[in-house]
């Protein structure tokens, strides 16, 4: 998106300003500041494990010491812990960005990837395959503002949530 300002002559020599990029940059900077100057609660939140519970005992989670593929794909970016759940709750798989990995924004991206990987891991272990949603039968999809908001929510739905 270009922001026009000033006279035609001025516009002719001004480079287009990408508002979306600026917005992203400001948001990431704010996250970084919030994390570095924020309360202990904020810092703790950034280090918190993300977790899913899967059916079966812990021995079933790793094959010859190897993590399930969705988690293994994240490599050294993440720490993973596996422990038995209480009662008949099977196994708890926990993951979080590796300590000192990078910036707050990168951390946020990794946490999204972890949510997705944990959900996929759970499906692989319990059902044997990851559920595929698309393509689906659908009618005309006009480009409306509410529609774009739904599309955006759906695109990131696998990486979002309080998991």
């Amino acid at each position: 998106m270009c922001v026009a300002a000033g006279s035609d002559e001025q516009n002719a020599v001004m480079a287009p300003v990408n508002v979306r990029k600026i917005g992203t940059g400001v948001r990431r900077l704010a996250e970084e500041v919030r994390l570095r100057l924020g309360s202990t609660k904020v810092k703790r939140q950034a280090q918190r494990w993300l977790a899913v519970t899967v059916e079966g005992d812990p021995a079933r989670i790793t094959t010859e010491g190897e993590l399930p593929v969705p988690l293994a794909r994240l490599g050294s970016k993440v720490e993973v812990e596996i422990r038995p759940g209480p009662g008949d709750w099977g196994t708890e798989i926990l993951a979080r960005p590796a300590v000192g990995s990078s910036t707050a924004a990168a951390d946020r991206d990794v946490r999204g990837q972890i949510r997705s990987a944990l959900r996929q891991t759970k499906q692989l272990l319990e059902v044997g395959e990851v559920l595929i949603a698309e393509p689906r039968p659908e009618g005309t999809r006009p480009a409306t503002v509410p529609g774009k908001l739904v599309d955006r929510a759906v695109r990131s739905a696998d990486e979002k949530g309080v998991l």
Binding site: E126, V127, E129, A133, P137, G139, R141, A153, A157
Partner: protein, 389 residues
């Protein structure tokens, strides 16, 4: 193929859409024989559930014939006539293993939306917005059925399509309300809402041994159906005050079990209804909980209230004080249909459970928009519009 799509608030259209494909090994493709409009669809049609996208195919209550199966499907073959549970559940996660199928961890491919809204994601549901997985619905010629071994059930030969259709949603939802609401022999049960689900809840309560069952609504033709086809008593809230009437029926105690089968667009009389309408239209509350409030106030001390109606988010003036001080048990769920459907089909086969009367208006898929208008406005005594693709 042709499909009935939501195209905007109160706008529906039959469109040409691509046919569904097998995408996972546990999928089946089902040719839809009958597909019912459900009261909960009206929340989608009216724009009360904001995660609908123009072009979404509606419908979640259906019966059909299997025309294709994935390599992982073991229990079904091409040509099987099946009724399919509205909720999509894997059958393998902790919740499914504990028969809480609508809470399935693996049936919703968009878990982040409801995880954020509600703190955890329930399973998926056909044709019920992207919050519930974005699955294409059954108001179409064909539908993809994931986890087919878990969600599709063969229909006994002697059960008609129209009777079996309601084993997809209305019957198991109603049964669950009576069962998990704790109905036991000798109970007095009150049911709010005489639509398909309310009628099925009342019938379930009777079959579970309730001594007296009363259904509350305002529509004469629905109340007549309750009397003629279900065999329960009725209460028209336009002509009677519900709370005193229930007290009188129960020796001053109140019903043992109260089942709410109305949902987020409840109607009522008096200033409370106006208040709820204004707040909902101004988006100061998302749902109108009139029937839930009344059920809580009506219920006897130590009794049980079960909420079957669909609610999306937030309600106002919720009588939590009554719940606590009367020692009520309050439960709710979307249907755990896989738990009940085989048993319900058996009861349908023996004639204990009859549902055909609910299908008051059977029509072609092309007439879908008109069918929903009739259903929404209760025109011509419409209890359910049913589409034949």
């Amino acid at each position: 193929m042709r499909a009935l799509c939501w195209t905007g608030v109160n706008k529906l259209q039959v469109e040409d859409v691509a046919e569904p494909q097998i995408l996972n090994s546990h999928d089946a493709i089902v040719k839809v024989l009958l597909s019912a409009a459900c009261g909960s669809d009206l929340h989608l049609v009216g724009g009360y559930i904001p995660t609908m996208r123009a072009g979404d195919v509606l419908g979640h209550e259906f019966i059909g014939e299997i025309v294709e199966t994935g390599p992982g499907v073991r229990n079904h073959r091409v040509g099987d006539r099946v009724v399919v549970c509205s909720f999509i559940s894997c059958g393998r996660c902790h919740y499914c293993k504990n028969q809480l199928y609508s809470l399935c961890d693996n049936g919703n491919p968009n878990p982040g939306i409801t995880d954020t809204m509600w703190g955890a994601a329930p399973g998926g549901c056909y044709g019920y917005s992207h919050a519930m997985g974005g699955w294409a619905g059954s108001h179409a010629e064909y539908i993809r059925v994931p986890y087919a071994d878990q969600g599709a059930f063969p229909v006994p030969e002697d059960v008609s399509d129209t009777r079996a259709l309601f084993a997809s949603d209305a019957a198991p939802t109603g049964w669950m309300g009576a069962h998990l609401g704790g109905v036991s022999p000798g109970d007095v049960v009150a049911v709010w809402g005489a639509g398909g689900v309310g009628q099925m809840a009342a019938r379930a309560a009777m079959l579970l041994g309730a001594e007296r069952v009363v259904v509350i609504d305002q529509f004469a033709e629905r109340l007549r159906q309750v009397e003629n086809h279900v065999g329960a008593e009725t209460l028209d809230y336009r002509s009677q005050d519900v709370l005193p009437a229930l007290k009188e029926m129960t020796g001053g105690r109140g019903p043992d079990v109260c089942i709410e089968a109305v949902g987020m667009e409840a109607h009522s009389t008096g200033p409370a209804y106006l208040y709820d309408q204004v707040k909902q239209q101004l988006r100061l509350q998302t749902d109108r909980p009139t029937a839930v409030r009344e059920a809580i106030l009506a219920c006897r001390k130590g009794g049980s209230v079960y909420v079957l109606g669909v609610f999306g988010a937030l309600v106002d003036k919720f009588p939590l004080g009554a719940v606590i001080n009367k020692g009520l048990t309050l439960r709710a769920a979307q249907q755990h249909g896989q738990r009940y459907i085989p048993m319900l089909l058996e009861r349908m086969a023996t004639g204990e459970l009859r549902t055909e009367h609910l299908a008051t208006h059977v029509m072609s898929l092309e007439e879908g928009p008109h069918g929903y208008q009739m259903f929404k406005e209760k025109m011509d005594g419409c209890v359910r519009a049913v589409f034949q693709p």
